[in-house]
């Protein structure tokens, strides 16, 4: 079952109680079946209540769950023949981004994603999934390669942001992100992006300009992390829970704002509860997207992406201008 989050504590207590009764029954050879089934019913009701009414902050917690599946967990389960490819040919290999070639249901694809570590040691190697410019440039190299050989590109987004460091700035973090946005805009193959965990700001968007953008039910995607928003807007990062709500960062919020296409449902309690099941849900979303997008010509794919982003935003007009005439 894994590590439980604070809002899951009532469930944990009930589960423990049921377990206790079970062992008691076995030990003392008494029949408490009625009591157990009553508690199990209560548990199932409570589960529904909690998981169907998750707050924005609960979803952020699930997206950050230490056992939440990462890009490579999904690559292993959804794709075949994956061959990881390294390096940007300019500076180095950034392990905060993984990418390579594979087959998806028998067809060649390129798959690229942010890669967090599973433990501290791996996180140090992968810089907690926060890329440097060479990570984005590796992604760029691989997507151009995909375009040359006309295979679709699938991006898995999961980052706390592009790394804010001295070396990253020196090597042009801004340019690396900006270049990817431009090149993704013009890529003549299908691009499908799926937010699997955290989608923070330009660091996520840098591999996030797609024909279809989907989000896992308990992932988040915004211009800044809830903590960053709280610090910047209210000078108090402890207001992160409130910011998570105000900033409208959950999958249902983004669907409502017309920024994403599909919400991929998560297994009850979050993706980490059953990686196999979750992979199947992602796979079926990918199958559907690819079926739709592979019917489009190169030009249509680029136009489709253009129309998608061209229409994002809300504004209005006033009749008299107060500014320049």
């Amino acid at each position: 079952m894994g590590q439980r989050l604070d809002f899951e504590r009532p469930l944990q207590e009930l589960e423990d109680k049921i377990k206790e009764l079970h062992s008691f029954m076995e030990e003392k050879k008494v029949d408490l079946t009625d009591e157990v089934s009553r508690l199990e019913k209560r548990l199932s009701k409570m589960e529904s209540e909690i998981y169907e009414n998750l707050t924005a902050w609960n979803r952020v917690q699930l997206a950050r769950h230490p056992e939440r599946p990462t890009t490579s967990d999904y690559i292993d389960r959804i794709f075949d023949d994956f061959l990881e490819l390294h390096g940007d040919r300019l500076f180095g290999d950034d392990e905060a981004i993984v990418g390579g070639i594979a087959t998806f249901e028998g067809n060649p694809v390129t798959v690229i994603g942010h890669q967090r570590g599973k433990d501290t040691k791996e996180n140090l190697r992968r810089n907690f999934g926060m890329p440097h410019p060479e990570g984005y440039r590796k992604a760029l190299r691989l997507m151009k390669q995909a375009e040359k050989f006309q295979r679709p590109v699938i991006f898995l987004l999961d980052t706390k942001g592009a790394f804010p460091g001295k070396a990253a700035e020196e090597r042009g973090q801004s340019e690396a992100i900006a270049r990817n946005l431009i090149e993704m805009a013009g890529l003549t193959v299908p691009i499908i992006c799926i937010v699997i965990g955290e989608g923070a700001s330009g660091g996520a968007l840098a591999i996030g300009v797609g024909n279809h953008v989907h989000m896992l039910e308990n992932s988040w995607y915004s211009v800044i992390s809830p903590e960053g928003a709280a610090a910047l807007l209210w000078k108090d990062s402890s207001l992160a829970q409130q910011a998570a709500d105000t900033m409208k960062i959950t999958a249902p919020d983004l669907k409502e704002l017309n920024v994403i296409d599909e919400i991929i449902p998560e297994v009850k309690g979050g993706a980490h509860r059953n990686v196999e099941e979750q992979s199947k849900a992602i796979q079926s979303a990918l199958t559907k997207s690819l079926k739709e997008l592979t019917q489009l010509t190169k030009e249509e794919l680029v136009d489709h992406r253009y129309e998608k982003y061209r229409n994002i935003g809300q504004y209005t007009f006033v009749t008299d201008t107060i500014g320049l005439k």
Binding site: V223, L233, Y306, G323
Partner: protein, 285 residues
Amino acid sequence: MLKDLFNKKKKYATVPSDKIKQDVPEGIMTKCPGCKSIIYTKELEKSHKVCVKCGYHHQMSAPERLKNTLDQGSFRELDAEMISENPLSFPGYVERLEKDQKKSSLNEAVVTGEGTIDGYRTAIAVMDARFRMGSMGSVVGEKITRAIEHAHKEKIPFIIFTASGGARMQEGVLSLMQMAKSSVALKRFSNDGGLFISIMTHPTTGGVSASFASVGDFNFAEPKALIGFAGRRIIEQTIREDLPEDFQTAEFLLHHGQLDRVIHRADMKKTLSQVLMIHGNRGEK
């Protein structure tokens, strides 16, 4: 009765106003942040708002920039009536917008339109840091995208002067998506041979630096302009070391290969004209 009169008097006691205390009448003199000397504002305006003593480039408003860059009387504004909504119903956002509209006499943080530079027709966008720190929300993204599309349709170059703290927080993910929106338009424009010149002025950071500002066919900047992706404080907290004095300045970026040139404001128009001339895009006056 007598007591009442006495109280009334007390109520009207006068306090010397702050204005009287000031030595320098507001507006006439300006203190230079570069060398701390007091300069006549009029004199500063004559020198393109560059300090004659230390060369510090004072911030320019969008109207001042247009005046400084375009041929006199050539500017025709586009989408001046476009204003922001409050898509996330963010508390206090509308009030802040209204405050900045009053303060800057602008409807939003960017002014877009068409004008000529030494006779060369060009589409132009100028960001104004006085308005919500020049941050990019839906309106800034839309106006810039429309300016790019205008340049595309008219087959003229697109020039932008950036000055922005990045994406606008109060519009959340919609602000982030403006980076993608302007990018899809720029890519189309570029594929058809459109010329795009980006001039980064103080400050150009975050989402603006990480989108159109950094991908000009020509990337220029003004001296000492702060340009970067992440904020200095955040970087210092993350890597726990002090950063060099010139970190994220235009000169720092030039040294690290991120800029084509750093251009003094007095030479800006001349340089732009030279680039336009070489690309042979002479419009009619």
